[in-house]
């Protein structure tokens, strides 16, 4: 301690300003003491700068390249070395992509499938979780176990039999062919049930004494207090459905019923590069906007399964 103080005062005597210490609110591998030593601080700032640069280059720059690529002319795109900033930025490629890919229709389809899928999934999974958590029927645990067991089966393995099943039911090119399989989601039921389990019994009992039936209890007691988990499950359901590729590729094959991902993939081979990029930018914007607004929910949901599980 003495030597640290002495060194500090010596530095002050030399006229050096003592730098503000790096604030440490929680302890990690490097101790606060080490971090705030002279070399510790230097290394820290160097590492921070490197990480910031690298992560921006790795994760933001590709997106920058995509957006600016969509704004360059075909001639400029083919140039070597490439231009870092578009010379004459133009939105022509976006207009062209909108026409060529029929993006308006694709986006409408995708939004319709995502919202419909969300409604169906919530209706099915919330009522199932409510029944398993609060109404506790005989064999409830067996049912829950069988639902969770489906999580163990890799999706690719059941892809073909699921396709055959949906085809047998005549649900190809029918939105229900997307919605019903999506509703059979064991993870949603697990998350919802675990949250419902934590709602005090007294709350439900009190409502029941006041004469509320099971549906009323679900609607007026359970749902209002479950907003956080409903938010997480909703966002994940919508985003997953929006991002999904393989299943819509198999089920929605009519070109006027395709999702945006499938539509882009089918046409991308025969279209100039800047037009593809414009299409990709448009396809990426909705999920990025969702991420901007619901970042906290999304990150909470990501660790929801692992933190207490």
């Amino acid at each position: 301690m003495i030597s640290v103080g002495a060194r500090a005062s010596a530095r002050r005597a030399r006229g050096g300003r003592r730098p503000r210490p790096i604030e440490v609110r929680f302890r990690t591998i490097v101790s606060p003491h080490q971090l705030n030593s002279r070399w510790g601080r230097r290394i820290y700032w160097a590492v921070l700068l490197t990480v910031l640069t690298l992560s921006t280059l790795a994760f933001v720059f590709p997106l920058y390249w995509m957006v600016t690529g969509a704004m360059k002319s075909g001639e400029e795109l083919a140039r070597m070395p490439p231009t870092l900033v578009p010379e004459a930025p133009t939105l022509d490629a976006f207009a062209e992509a909108w026409q060529l890919f029929d993006i308006g229709l694709l986006l409408r389809n995708t939004a319709f499938y995502a919202l419909g899928g969300w409604l169906v999934t919530m209706a099915v999974d919330v009522s199932a979780a409510y029944a398993l958590s609060k109404l506790r029927p005989a064999l409830g645990n067996v049912v829950l176990g069988a639902m969770l067991a489906t999580l163990m089966v890799p999706p690719m393995v059941v892809l073909i039999p699921l396709y055959v099943t949906v085809s047998d039911l005549g649900l190809l090119n029918n939105p229900w062919g997307l919605w019903l399989p999506a509703a059979a989601n064991g993870f949603n039921i697990f998350l919802l049930k675990r949250f419902f389990d934590s709602i005090p019994k007294e709350l439900v009992e009190a409502a029941r004494i006041d004469g509320a039936g099971p549906l009323r209890v679900l609607w007026s007691v359970i749902l209002p207090v479950s907003r956080p988990i409903l938010g997480v499950v909703s966002i994940f359901t919508i985003v997953t459905s929006f991002k999904d590729f393989v299943w819509p590729l198999l089920v929605m094959t009519d070109s006027d019923r395709m999702t945006i991902s499938v539509g882009l993939s089918q046409t991308a081979g025969a279209v100039p590069q800047n037009t593809i990029m414009a299409g990709l930018v448009i396809a990426g914007i909705p999920t990025i906007i969702v991420f901007f607004f619901f970042q906290r929910h999304i990150m909470a949901g990501l660790t929801a399964g692992s933190s207490k599980g």
């Binding site: 070395p81 409510y130 029927p137 409830g140 509703a183």
Partner: protein, 292 residues
């Protein structure tokens, strides 16, 4: 009477989910098994063919390659997709500034629809004006053929796959790292443990459970890789990127009515994953006995 009524209402609430699971989750599992012994074109009634489908799958010239590729992809993806996120999480956890930004940025590619990431990288991999060769050119290095050469195609797929998936693993590790009690680090420090020793004796044991779980999940996920070969290489060049899942798709949809063969290959994939899961469980159990 009241018990009966309670059960009836409960199953009333459950019936929609039961129907969905029965038709779209449980039945396809059974159907998978049955399908692998049948020949069907989805129109005429299916015919039993015994083990013909399995024989046809094994005889397919791409069969062995597909398994080797899947294995190679899984190993490569584990080296990149397992070590990189954990290392990133370790570093991010040490930083005291720009935490929100870094998390946001790392998770950004996960939010993009996979098709966007894949088509974007297809352009980057372009041997002519593609970004990657331009960057190599900047350092006066020769350009690579990336997707067009059988020696670099698979690793190119791993790069895309890591880029678009590593965000979620990183954030999960980050959450696990933050749950480590600080006393453990302090105690280790008092015992004279350096930074590497602290990682080895505190960080890794404390996050072991989540590390093992993620290992399992990632192996299962990467063994099913489909969209990357489907969009980027179509299995080529020279079958260098045919994976088991992609071969399955080909049997079912491009070879014409090979749903049975696809089912048989699916059974094999399932079996491989089961064997692996059992092995993994055994390994973790032995591990626990040693530490106990």
């Amino acid at each position: 009477m009241r018990v009966l009524k309670r059960n009836l209402t409960a199953y009333g609430f459950l019936c929609a989910a039961l129907a969905c699971f029965a038709v779209f989750a449980w039945y396809p599992m059974v159907r998978e098994f049955v399908l692998s012994f049948q020949r069907t074109n989805l129109v005429d009634p299916p015919v039993w063919v015994g083990l013909d489908n399995f024989a046809a799958v094994v005889r397919d010239p791409a069969f062995g390659t597909a398994w080797l590729n899947t294995l190679a992809f899984t190993v490569l993806a584990l080296i990149c997709g397992y070590a990189v996120p954990f290392g990133t999480a370790l570093v991010l956890n040490e930083l005291r500034h720009a935490r929100g930004y870094l998390r946001f940025v790392v998770y950004l590619p996960v939010m993009l629809p996979p098709i966007v990431a894949v088509l974007l990288f297809r352009w980057f991999f372009d041997p002519g004006p593609g970004l990657f060769n331009q960057i190599l050119g900047l350092f006066h290095l020769p350009g690579l053929a990336w997707l067009d050469s059988s020696s670099t195609a698979l690793i190119s797929l791993v790069i895309v796959s890591t880029w678009m998936n590593m965000g979620s693993a990183t954030l999960i590790y980050l959450a696990a790292l933050q749950n480590i009690p600080s006393e453990l680090y302090e105690a280790a420090e008092l015992d004279g443990a350096g930074i590497l020793a602290r990682i080895r004796h505190v960080t890794i044991p404390q996050t072991r459970l989540i590390l093992l779980l993620m290992l399992m999940l990632q192996i299962v996920a990467t063994m099913q890789v489909f969209i990357e070969p489907y969009m980027l290489t179509g299995g080529g060049p020279e079958n260098a990127t045919v994976t088991v899942a992609y071969l399955m798709y080909q049997f079912a949809f491009t070879y014409g009515d090979g749903y049975g063969q696809a089912g048989a290959l699916g059974m094999m994939l399932m079996l491989a994953l089961l064997v692996f899961a059992a092995f993994q469980l055994r390994l973790t159990r032995d591990d626990r006995e040693v530490t106990a």
